[in-house]
């Protein structure tokens, strides 16, 4: 799941020889040349979106038909033709109680998105109300050295997104804290690189589910006796372990494949080891390291959903799972809403990483 992305280190493309030319062109000429290109991209994207929606609509109505006729047939078979006719009428009326349960229509998904937002507003309002009500009490409790009372009601969809983002952020940090230092060390040292290589090759393709179970085993033992909720911790660590490989491989690659001329300059100048690492080796490896981090973020986000789902820690993953389990009339539509949100957030995270990559890198990143 998602692991294919980490298969090989990805180096940024070498800088195009004329890339710097743009600086010398007047700004207006640049915009003028880009505009038709942007309009074209926008046009093509909009058109393909329309085609996508059309195909979706058609598939949904086909599946709806299949599901509906199967349901009518079954009713006829089990309860006779009269009940069958009733069922047919019920389905045609669009009543929720007999709605065929299959791929939702685009309109249903849009509607579900609206419901989720409305739900969020309602829950936020409740929460705000709860907080003002308990504010005074909490001050008193704080004076008595007691924990404040916090809102423990059902989280809204938007809250779930926030929780997932928090999990992925902590997981990403964990992966950086492990992968970057190890990557630098094994990039600098041939012996260690060989020592670590089998480990990387063997553990890299392991599925997120297995990582989760492993982390679960360890964390469970380590937190024995404490009754705090470890599911958040477990999912963060699992996300970190699943996604750190791209950063690890790229960091060691970036460090080990440094231009020999740079090393020679460092040797001629007699740079100390610290200066050599921080002024020469790391800056030269930054573009490759950041390409790795970008992959790490997208893998982290991708595996997060599966991990949350299994670890039963709050977030989009458990949202999807609960909707699937409770099978309400609009559950399928909500799952599709979650799918789009997951995709969009992933896209956004990647854009952010791309932006950061361009800030810190002396080469142009490939978007």
């Amino acid at each position: 799941m998602g692991q294919h992305l980490t298969e090989s280190p990805v180096a940024p493309a070498p800088k195009a020889p004329l890339a710097g030319l743009g600086r010398y062109l007047p700004a207006r000429a640049k915009v003028g040349r880009q505009l038709p290109g942007m309009a074209r991209t926008l046009g093509i994207s909009l058109a393909s979106m329309a085609v996508f929606l059309l195909l979706w609509q058609m598939s949904a109505s086909y599946l709806y038909g299949v599901e509906a006729s199967a349901r009518i047939e079954r009713t006829v078979r089990e309860q006779g033709p009269e009940a069958g006719a009733q069922m047919e009428a019920c389905i045609a009326s669009g009543d929720v109680s007999c709605k065929p349960n299959t791929l939702p229509f685009p309109s249903e998904v849009l509607h579900a998105a609206g419901l989720l937002l409305a739900d969020h507003r309602e829950i936020s309002a409740k929460k705000a109300e709860f907080n003002t009500e308990t504010a005074e009490l909490n001050v008193v409790r704080a004076e008595q050295g007691l924990d404040p009372i916090v809102y423990t009601g059902r989280p809204s969809f938007v809250d779930q997104i926030g929780t997932s983002l928090k999990t992925v952020a902590v997981g990403f940090l964990i992966s950086l804290l492990i992968a970057v230092p190890i990557g630098i060390i094994i990039g600098l040292n041939d012996t260690l690189r060989i020592a670590f290589n089998w480990m990387i090759q063997v553990f890299k393709p392991v599925s997120p589910v297995v990582w989760l179970l492993l982390v679960f085993m360890i964390v469970k033992t380590l937190t024995l006796g404490s009754d705090s909720d470890t599911s958040f911790l477990i999912s963060c660590i699992s996300v970190g372990l699943c996604s750190m490989w791209a950063t690890l491989v790229n960091t060691s690659l970036g460090v080990s494949s440094i231009n020999k001329d740079y090393l020679n300059v460092a040797r001629v100048l007699n740079l100390g080891i610290g200066k050599k690492i921080f002024k020469v080796i790391l800056p030269s490896a930054i573009p490759v390291i950041f390409t790795g981090m970008r992959i790490t973020v997208s893998v982290a986000w991708m595996v997060l959903i599966a991990i949350e789902l299994l670890a039963q820690s709050p977030g989009l993953g458990s949202f999807v799972w609960e909707e699937f389990q409770n099978g309400g009339s609009d559950s399928n539509a909500k799952i599709i809403v979650a799918m789009f949100v997951i995709g969009l957030v992933g896209f956004l995270l990647d854009r952010i990483m791309f932006w950061v990559q361009q800030r810190v890198s002396f080469e142009k990143a490939v978007g």
């Binding site: 001329d261 300059v265 001629v268 740079l271 800056p283 030269s284 002396f362």
Partner: protein, 263 residues
């Protein structure tokens, strides 16, 4: 036409039976064998020879970046064992760090070589040499935003700013177009005329060798390359390109070198 006897006290670099062997999958490859050469203080030496004869090998051994197989190189009577800022190197590719500005690139070296000066003094050194190579306005540009020729100017400035005992140049202008090359030769000579640092420069360009050098050292083709011939260039310094081109000796020198290379 072998090395004329030199006053031993003037010798900065003394190559004694220098031999370099590269291990290769098909056995040992002897690049240089028993090479003897002496280079005097404040001398500008050019080395020419066919591609692959071992010029870069020789230069990197002086720089201390390449191990010596047999024999030794004495620098002021001490054998060379490793690299150090007393031997400035100007590589063929400018090898500036592209993530630093021209100024920062030079500061990195100057900080290293003059750790006891004040920050102000070190900055003044950097500015002085960047000005000498005509890059005052560009010093806060990142190296990867400078043209090849400008980057090599920074390379020259960096090498001189570190006040090395010896300057090593490995085809420093090989990657430049001929106009820029002539420009940079002038820049190099101008700074060198002031500083008179012993310089050893590898080149493929016969005219460049004659214009810059006091002596041109011709290497025989490898394997087992040695010094084939040495030509003294008697032009007065400071040299002016136009005058040298019209000097009667110029064509004699040129023919001598080309004759050796075509042999």
């Amino acid at each position: 036409m072998l090395t004329p006897p030199v006053n031993l006290r003037d010798v900065v670099l003394d190559f004694r039976d220098l031999t370099k062997v590269y291990p290769t999958p098909t056995g040992e490859y002897v690049v240089l064998e028993n090479l003897q050469l002496q280079i005097k203080k404040e001398e500008f030496v050019s080395i020419i020879g066919h591609s692959g004869c071992g010029k870069t090998t020789l230069l990197t051994m002086i720089a201390g970046l390449n191990d010596i197989s047999r024999g030794e190189i004495l620098l002021n009577e001490f054998p060379i064992t490793g690299p150090g800022p007393d031997r400035g190197v100007i590589f063929q590719s400018p090898s500036l760090f592209p993530w630093m500005t021209a100024f920062e690139n030079m500061m990195l070296g100057v900080d290293q070589v003059f750790p006891h000066g004040t920050r102000r003094q070190r900055e003044d050194i950097v500015k002085y040499y960047l000005d000498k190579v005509g890059l005052s306005q560009w010093m806060h540009r990142r190296a990867n935003e400078l043209s090849q020729g400008m980057q090599q100017r920074v390379g020259i400035a960096r090498a001189f700013a570190l006040k090395p005992k010896i300057l090593l140049l490995d085809e420093p202008f090989g990657m430049l177009d001929s106009l820029t090359r002539a420009e940079l030769q002038d820049v190099l000579l101008e700074v060198w005329d002031k500083e008179k640092i012993t310089a050893i420069q590898i080149t493929h360009d016969v005219d460049e060798a004659i214009f810059l050098a006091d002596r041109v050292i011709m290497m025989t083709s490898g394997p087992r390359a040695q010094i084939g011939d040495i030509l003294e260039i008697g032009f007065e310094r400071p040299r002016v390109r136009k005058e040298i081109l019209h000097h009667p000796d110029y064509y004699r020198y040129r023919e001598h070198l080309i004759g050796f290379l075509e042999h």
